[in-house]
Amino acid sequence: MLNQDANGRRGGFTLIELLVVIAIIAVLIALLLPAVQSAREAARRIQCTNNIKQLGLALHNYHDVHGRFAPGSITVAITPTRDYRQPFVTSLLPYVEQGNLAASYNFNQSFQHGTNDTTRLARVNVFDCPSDQQVLFLNSDGTNADVKGNYGINWGQDTYGDPILKAPFALNYGASLAEITDGTSNTFLMAEQIQLPQPAGQPVNVIDRRGRIWSDQPSSHQISTRNGPNSQVPDLGACWPATDPRKAPCVRRTAQGPTHYMASRGKHPGGVNVLLGDGSVRFIKDSISIPTWRALSSIAGGEVISADSL
């Protein structure tokens, strides 16, 4: 026979030895696979960072042209029953190389008008974070109404109606660089949010507004620093508690818009990407202290932010 030693035993591996080797290989794969997966997430996070950086460049180009940052939303009451509404995202379109999309948008009508349906359904990569899912907001008949997005704007320290200290964005208001006396590197402009799907098993008029960039309504893309990034404290607004109680907790209310608030949330482990006023992007940890986080959201609060507290 082959490979026999002096005692007549066959040289080779026993079954047990083979099993042990297989077990060791399995352990090594189990060790390696999460590393590969987190490398993928790292790549997605870098893409996500780049997107928000592009939005920062767009905001600064907008500032060069108009002398101010783009207004948070535009809402003008024309008559008691009719108003004009224009979301934040429309102002940015020409500055993210979407001039054609901006040209297809009818600025004489509110964003919900039928002439703007096609514009609202166009996905623009720069508004989406690859770590998150892409969600469409639905019409009352269940057809697609508009695309959601992953980047919200800094709306102050508390609620939609009461930012406490002035933020870079508000209704019909975008700050100018001169007004950001805290310093542009100590004030953030935009931060991440997640796109929440239509509440499962609910009528279509029961909505989750979070992540809706094509809207002027509270708790859609207006980020408050009342609670920290990825906070376990629920958002308050037109959201749905059962969708993701761990990652996107919610206390639902449809009315009383001024009381709504929404925290910055993202799908990256440990924190969110935040665009500062100078155009830089920082990864802000979930564990940032709330006073620091709130100091970052005011444009002229006079707070001292130590660099090691970010």
Partner: protein, 164 residues
């Protein structure tokens, strides 16, 4: 084929098996040991909520951490709430926010979907118990952590209510 094996080699292979398995087990333990142990332990809490002396029919009660990061939401049903040990707050100080709305019975146009309607709601509980809450609670590591919140819809006349 497994033939004419004496006890001695078998023992030796068992020893070598153990010698190989022990490092593997250590590696597994090291990996599993680094799991989500960062969260402080959560505790079950319970309590009662009354509005003007009557049990609050339905609402949400939120424990907002004043120190730490662990928050908790509890559903209020017929004036009572409770959480189990997996969803409750961790020991520490909390601001308590109680949200409750009721339908006014009217329907209004949806601000989100043209043509759709939603029910109009109004707040049952005043702002000083939720958005600008003055309620606090301390969750103790030992103790039954039962709370009673007696809310009034009218502000106390004696002092001006303002959180900040």
């Amino acid at each position: 084929m497994l033939t004419n094996r004496t006890d001695r080699p078998r023992n030796r292979s068992l020893v070598s098996l153990a010698a190989r398995l022990v490092p593997a087990a250590l590696v597994v333990a090291a990996v599993v040991g680094c799991g989500d142990s960062s969260e402080p332990p959560r505790l079950p809490v319970s309590g009662k909520v009354t509005l003007d002396g009557k049990p609050l029919p339905a609402g949400q009660l939120t424990f907002v951490p004043l120190d730490g990061r662990t928050a908790s939401v509890a559903e209020v049903r017929d004036g009572a709430f409770q959480t189990d040990g997996s969803t409750g707050p961790a020991p520490g100080r909390y601001q308590v926010e109680i949200y409750a709305v009721e339908s006014t019975g009217k329907t209004i146009p949806s601000p989100d979907i043209p043509g759709a309607t939603i029910e109009e709601e109004r707040d049952l509980v005043p702002e000083r118990y939720n958005v600008k809450s003055e309620l606090t609670a301390e969750v103790k590591p030992d103790g039954d952590n039962a709370y009673e919140f007696a809310l009034t819809s009218q502000a106390p006349a004696a002092r001006k209510v303002r959180r900040r």
